[in-house]
């Protein structure tokens, strides 16, 4: 079973330490929930793992093999916060390139794809586009998936539809997911990591979110 290891990540902007002692480990078959306040470096950490942001120091490996840029050769896929699909190309053509052929039959059952596969992204609403982009990344060929705010800009019912899909795909992949909608993260994750003061805290129970000041209470 493949495992992703992220260790000794350090990142500073204008003399301010954003990340200084980051460690996390993700096995295939596991969903890691990454929580933290605004500006604590969650997105930066995902970009460093993916390979699009240079850290001052980092060690990222898959099966102990150092990975300089995670995206090369489809090792790691990343859902950014912004839209990423190119305009003017049919959705089916865009999806076929990224989606894992082994997961294609599952992917084409997704309503937003089934209804709009022969159109371009200009025919989608903002929520539909976000849903489609997230589903493409979840079903991609990569061994490890990084999801940056997949539950933002979608309706609660769509979020509820995502969670079983994430769980199903996690049988074959390792997934790291971050979002401010912590309920959804707690529901879908096997392990929770809190990023606070540039340091990762591996939580053993949800009450620690209160201990570390991320939440005032859990409903």
């Amino acid at each position: 079973m493949n495992y992703l290891k992220v260790d000794s990540v350090a990142l500073a902007f204008n003399g301010r330490n954003i990340l200084q002692s980051v460690y996390l480990n993700c096995r295939q078959g596991e969903v890691i929930g990454l929580l933290g306040r605004n500006g604590c470096g969650k997105s930066s950490l995902l970009k460093i793992i993916f390979g699009t942001l240079n850290a001052d120091h980092k060690y990222v490996s898959i099966n102990d093999e150092f990975i300089h840029k995670g995206y090369l050769n489809n090792r790691i896929a990343y859902l950014p916060q912004h839209n990423y699909l190119p305009a003017g190309v049919k959705i089916e053509k865009l999806a076929r390139i990224l989606v894992d052929p082994k997961l294609w039959d599952d992917f084409i059952q997704i309503p937003v794809y089934r209804n709009k596969f022969n159109k371009t992204i200009s025919s989608l609403s903002g929520g539909e586009l976000r849903q489609l982009e997230t589903m493409i990344i979840i079903h991609s060929r990569a061994e490890f998936i990084l999801l940056d705010e997949p539950f933002t800009h979608i309706s609660p019912i769509q979020a509820d539809e995502f969670k079983p899909v994430i769980r199903a795909c996690a049988k074959h992949k390792g997934i790291i997911v971050t979002d401010h909608q912590y309920h959804n993260i707690l529901d879908v994750s096997d392990k929770i990591i809190l990023l606070t003061d540039g340091v990762t805290k591996h939580l053993t129970n949800h009450e620690e979110l209160i201990t570390y000041g991320y939440l005032s209470g859990i409903n």
């Binding site: 993916f50 390979g51 699009t52 840029k69 995206y71 090369l72 050769n73 489809n74 896929a77 990343y78 950014p80 912004h82 839209n83 990423y84 699909l85 190119p86 305009a87 003017g88 190309v89 053509k93 865009l94 076929r96 390139i97 990224l98 990344i137 991609s140 060929r141 990569a142």
Partner: protein, 100 residues
């Protein structure tokens, strides 16, 4: 690798007209000033590449993630499409010189 040609076309499509305009524009300059200015052609093309790269990174930077998620670096995509474009330019130049 099987999807590389498709990816290159999606990446090249927004740049194609712009780069073709630079190629045809320079052929027009050769037509006006004669073959003595041919040697400046590649400099003219480089200027075109710099402007299209800037334009693309300004207007379509978000889509870079699509190509990265397909497993390719953006630097590599630019190298591929500009190599293809310079090939098109050389073919057009050869045809022009042959029929001129």
């Amino acid at each position: 690798m099987s999807y590389l040609r498709q990816l290159l076309w999606y990446f090249y499509k927004p740049l194609f007209i712009w780069n073709l305009a630079f190629s045809l524009g320079y052929l027009e300059i050769i037509h006006i000033y004669g073959q003595k200015v041919i040697s400046y052609g590649f400099f003219f093309k480089l200027l075109g590449y710099a402007s299209t790269t800037y334009l693309q990174s300004y207007t379509a930077k978000n889509t870079y993630m699509y190509y990265r998620n397909a497993g390719y670096s953006i630097k590599r995509m630019y190298i591929y499409v500009y190599t293809i474009d310079i090939g098109i330019y050389i073919i057009l130049l050869t045809l022009y010189l042959y029929y001129a």
